[in-house]
Symmetry: none
Subunit: 194 residues, 4 copies
């Protein structure tokens, strides 16, 4: 019994992973995301999708969680663990530069799906909130420049995430990731400390 259930769960997760992958591909290809197309690309009947998810909204929500969950966890881990603020910040930058390219793509896409975005403003929930709290702490405990923590957080977000996203738009395909990361760190360090 348990063995059967395990197996079922395994298959279940495999299918779900396939679905997530397919949706991301569709986003990348700027194709409309229809249940028909997801099913077709997963070599699964349309009706089957409804065995895994109650409806399209639930499906998209799952994709959402799958993509953004790890980031949220990573950021939480970095900022909730006590330690030197500067070290935390560097860890945050480091982790941001490690994430899959899909993520920034998805970040751009995410506001499209109002049904999902309705419930949570993801950018805020996943990145900004931890960042704002981090800045507040840093300002209150001394080391950070004393400005509005929201402003400081937005500065960090723009410099780190913005730079990451805009890499794709650069005309020259030869963007040197290492150089960019160093410049980001330099900039953030320079500004954040008193």
């Amino acid at each position: 019994m348990t063995a059967v259930r395990k197996k079922k769960e395994l298959v279940d997760n495999l299918v779900k992973a396939e679905i997530v992958k397919t949706v991301l591909t569709l986003i990348k290809e700027e194709q409309p995301i229809t249940m028909d197309e997801i099913a077709r690309r997963c070599s699964v009947a349309k009706g089957t999708l409804y065995n895994y998810f109650k409806n399209k909204k639930a499906l998209m929500h799952y994709v959402h969680q799958t993509v953004l969950g790890p980031i949220r966890d990573s950021n939480t881990a970095i900022f909730e663990t006590p330690g030197d603020p500067l070290v935390q910040l560097h860890k945050f930058i480091e982790s941001a530069f490690c994430f899959d390219k899909d993520v920034s793509l998805y970040f751009q896409f995410v506001q499209q799906e109002r049904t999902v975005a309705n419930q949570i403003d993801d950018r805020f929930e996943v990145v900004m909130r931890p960042l704002i709290r981090f800045c507040s702490d840093g300002i209150q405990s001394g080391p950070f420049i004393d400005v509005d923590p929201y402003v400081l957080a937005e500065m960090i977000y723009g410099t780190v995430i913005g730079s990451l996203i805009s890499i794709q738009s650069r005309g020259d395909g030869t963007s040197d990731m290492k150089k960019i990361k160093q410049d980001v760190i330099r900039l953030v360090d320079k500004i954040i400390l008193k």
Copy 2:
């Protein structure tokens, strides 16, 4: 004759303005933007919309231009006029804080209409491109810190535009715009100069 034409043009613009307003309202209310609904809210027949715009795409494009045009013009004017870089930057911040709240709303929404956004990545076209060029110039001619101009531009964008947008998400409705603007200026000044 001319009088009739003038009048017609006036009415025309009035109706179009109404349509733009309605679309922005729909975006704000996170309601689906259908021709039916636009017509209903404008107290106009569906067919009438098609007297003003060839199709939905054209209508959305007009909304787009109406919202983003002034910003583009403003930014172009600020950065294309020769002068002290720091003064230009302050002007840019000043103008950003003057724009209607609709603008930031629209900025978040804009990527929805792929057909439009496809053609130009507006954030890039309207704000980033002038900003990047401005940073490049400032770096080359000396006064600005020598980092990747894209990174510097993203830093400015995040600090200025990001802070503006996030004002709406702040829990406390009592955000002091003046204080925020001053902090933004302080931050940008501090970082940008060598």
Copy 3:
């Protein structure tokens, strides 16, 4: 008064002629025939068309009559006038080869407009009926071959009108109208007489 009325009627007819011309042009160009387009091409307001015709059906009916009326009259004149059947037939062929190219074009088009065609099957009314009566007479009075008059009439129709219409479809643009007409006459003569 009368002068004014005359003038009005003159203008009236001029406009109507323009409308007919425009509709035929639209048919030729395989463009949809909309009131909008007719008005535009006639440099007249859409509403004005409704001063000349009660509705689109009436307008199309007028075009119809204007194009087919002369043919009907011609055929009636030829076949109703007593005389040698063979001479009549040759006159019919002669007149068919004289008509404007628009006519055959219109003939192909005419079945499209069901609203008009509903009321009369034009091919039948305008050409076939006189032809059938003519054949019946010729058969009864002796000179024509004794077959079903409908069949004989269709033979004539096909040979004369069919040949005319198919001239346009011929690959070689160099169709010698005179030669074709002579062949048509030869063929019809040969078959029709006992």
Copy 4:
């Protein structure tokens, strides 16, 4: 597996046949051919039609092929098989008189659907082209009267197909098909041979 597929294909064809029948009925009743009406008369939801055909054009094309295909095949078979020209001609007449009444109805209608008719002038493709080639051969190899082959072909078309179509328009419902066919044959025989 194969059984399921066979069954599916069977149902598929049944539905498609029903759709063809419905469209022909609509043509017969001179009713507008809308997807709504087709669906209603087939007791099927509008969307279902789109499971069978990509769009209206494809649906109409299928009707087209279904009606005209057999005729084309028949004519091709008759005229491409070597043999005595007169025998071929008689076979052609025979086959024409065998076809369903729907066919002549459809023949009248066919030019309506410009999108389809555009691509091929069907009358030409299906009947005239084989007929013209047949006449050319007969003229060159001797037995047929030496006139323009197009004219000869049009004569045959008019006599055979025209007579068939006009049967419906005859006032007296009592048209004796056998008598008509014999007259057609007599006429064609008489004229075609030198």
